[in-house]
Subunit: 165 residues, 2 copies
DNA sequence: CCGCAATATGTTACAATATAACATAACGAC
DNA sequence: GTCGTTATGTTATATTGTAACATATTGCGG
């Protein structure tokens, strides 16, 4: 599975098929890896993608409940833990929120562009960053386990929208 | 003010003078900028440095109280807000914790190496990372406001200590 | 020096996020 | 089918962070 070209979802993109694609990828990946993508986990992953922007655990909880599932905080957090452990979702810690991973199964760590106007997120996958980090770490004798980069700002669409006013 | 060479504080470094130096820098900087480094803010900054590793807001609260100050959560959070707005401290959002900034007044954003064994943190200041980010952002038409990079792993000292066992 | 406006702090209450601990249910290898 | 393992349900609570309003302190113009 190759990484997508990073981009913010355009306002008129095909939401439904893009969610469906992500779920399909996840299903395939879990099957290959012998991971149990249970109904609950599948449901949570679907909600994450359907929101199509970082979504809080308690929002997910509410949405789960609305779909008729009996759920409490641990229900959601455990599903999120599974998804994150297996690279199907990421936590954006500056927002206390979660997003679907655009390239599950593909080796990488998290790099996000976060638009502070529309709240949407694009996931980058720039190898140069990892390479710089490796060099810096090596110099200090530091062994890197994982890392995350969260970039806040304004996306192109929102910039143009504000110019049209 | 130039950035320090990034490093983890060695076990036997001169704690007291290193805290004193950081406070002195902050005092000078605030005076120059006409910022009010009040007693409370000074006290919080001192505690942050004295801990010498990421420290939670409620830990700071407890330490403040032990020092005889009447304090509630907003007391601490407001002081932290001031310190962060003015580049004297950073929040490490993956830890919900705060650290003193090693190069206050020097233009930069936050880059941390976090040792998951000893809990200590080194602040990097690698211009190459910012430059890569700028390029990526430009390609997507994204305007960067700020960013943070949090790298987790094991520092040199802890690695060597574990080998000595 | 006084009084006023702006800024900072105190205080109470509560919101938002996350986890512990233990019970029950579902799964899957044998 | 049985049994050990893994997943989910359930209750309670811990941790982190803010809202809103009262009081105190600061610095400045007069």
């Amino acid at each position: 599975m190759k990484p997508n070209t990073p981009s913010f979802p355009s306002a008129d993109h095909d939401h439904a098929s893009c969610v469906a694609q992500a779920l399909k990828n996840a299903e395939t990946y879990c099957q290959q890896q012998g991971l149990r993508l249970t109904k609950l986990r599948h449901q949570v992953l679907e909600l994450i993608w359907a929101n199509h922007q970082p979504v809080g655990a308690y929002e997910l909880l509410e949405q789960l409940t609305q779909e008729g599932r009996k759920a409490a905080p641990p229900t959601v957090y455990r599903a999120l833990d599974f998804l994150m452990e297996n690279g199907l979702a990421h936590r954006i810690s500056s927002l206390n929120a979660y997003v679907g991973c655009s390239h599950a199964g593909y080796d990488h760590t998290a790099q996000f562009l976060i638009c502070e106007v529309c709240g949407q997120v694009a996931e980058l996958d720039d190898a140069r960053i990892g390479s710089v980090i490796s060099k810096d770490a090596k110099q200090l004798g530091f062994s890197v386990a994982q890392w995350s980069l969260e970039i806040t700002g304004i996306c192109d669409q929102c910039k143009q929208a504000s110019q049209d006013e």
